[in-house]
Amino acid sequence: MSRLRLWLLAVGGAGLAALLAAACLELPGFGGSRHPYGDRAVHASLSRHTANTIASVNFDQRAYDTLGEMSILFAAVLGCVVLLREARDEHRARPEPTDVARPVRRYALLVLPVALVTGLYVIAHGQLSPGGGFQGGVVAATALHLLYLGADYHALERVRPLGVYETTDALAVSSYLALGAAGVLAGTAFLANTLLPYGTFNTLSSGGAVPLLNAAVGMEVASAVVVLLAHFLDQAVEIEEEPGRGTP
């Protein structure tokens, strides 16, 4: 380790630590009661019949941020697809099948549907109880990979037509954008949640466009995570370099 780096680290770290510590002492005490934006957000959420205020902030009040967030996921998946593509000097090798102990296999195959249903439940109830498109999407996508853990990679590949997932990913982003643009076409504003009735408080269809945007995000996240993990699994399990052409 270079001496210079340690010195820089000591100086920079000490300076930043002092700065942060001084700032922390000036912060309003932990647990304070002044949250103007938060109070407004709760009020706005209730006025639009969305029981989960966080969902309302995410998919209604600050839905434009969520657009950026899902674009980040979309772009990162696209980036990983591009970065982890098969290079010119690589080929695919079929992995050897794995021998999985029977209790593990049974558990994986049993839990898979449970996890899938849980994922869908978490997405569907996003605007009511804790959860939402992102959390549920990740759970649903993870559930599929129980096939890899419980059986082997080949089994996973059979239920995973990547093209379909990539298309779903893109379509979900498009539908989010289309829902946003509908607001502009209707003359209100981008991503305005004024076109649909707000429904009855604390039911699945409440909140206007919130459930729709939530579902779009759920679809996007689930398919994006599947595609993402697929490329890492391909690298770890299947793709091999041509012998003798590695770098020095």
């Binding site: 992995p95 050897e96 099948p97 794995t98 021998d99 999985v100 102990a101 209790p103 593990v104 558990y107 994986a108 839990v111 449970v114 996890a115 849980t118 978490v122 109880s129 804790p130 959860g131 959390q135 759970v139 993870t142 990979h145 129980l146 853990l149 082997d152 990679y153 080949h154 770890a236 399990v237």
Partner: protein
């Protein structure tokens, strides 16, 4: 919030179990670390249930549900992909595993008794079942659940 037995129990559970798991996961041979990782789920999941009860928010139970589902999956990931490091060690700690399972069962039962019977009870029982079976299966997987993993 007044003094609340549930939260006190959760604090003890998180403090004790968490500290032990942290110690286990950060030190020692790989075998011990994965066992400690597996124990994390068994320590934190009941604590989350206790917290949901202590805060009086049934909707927080979803957290415990997710952890009971995903925690063992995480351990399976390690069991599968750390195969090389664990080769020949066959980590197993059945006494610990059964203790953790018993703890989970005790918490779930206590919560079932405290609440009124209904959908919430069913959910609790499902979580308990997932937690205990996941814990046992993950332990089994660590003690040699995957063979011939070099290729796949």
């Amino acid at each position: 919030m007044a003094v609340n037995g549930w939260i006190l129990a959760a604090t003890i559970e998180l403090g004790g179990g968490g500290a032990a798991a942290l110690w286990g996961v950060a030190t020692g041979p790989p075998a011990r670390r994965v066992i400690a990782q597996n124990m994390t789920t068994s320590a934190v999941c009941p604590a989350l249930l206790l917290l949901a009860q202590g805060y009086g928010r049934p909707s927080y139970v979803d957290l415990a549900l997710l952890l009971a589902l995903l925690g063992p999956v995480g351990t399976l990931v390690f069991a599968r992909l750390l195969g090389d490091d664990l080769a020949g060690q066959q980590p197993s700690a059945w006494a610990l595993t059964w203790t953790a399972a018993g703890l989970g069962a005790a918490v779930v039962l206590a919560l079932c008794v405290a609440g009124s019977p209904g959908r919430a009870t069913v959910k609790l029982l499902v979580i308990g079942a997932l937690l205990i079976s996941g814990n046992l299966v993950a332990s089994r997987a660590l003690a040699g659940g995957f063979r011939g993993v070099r290729g796949g």
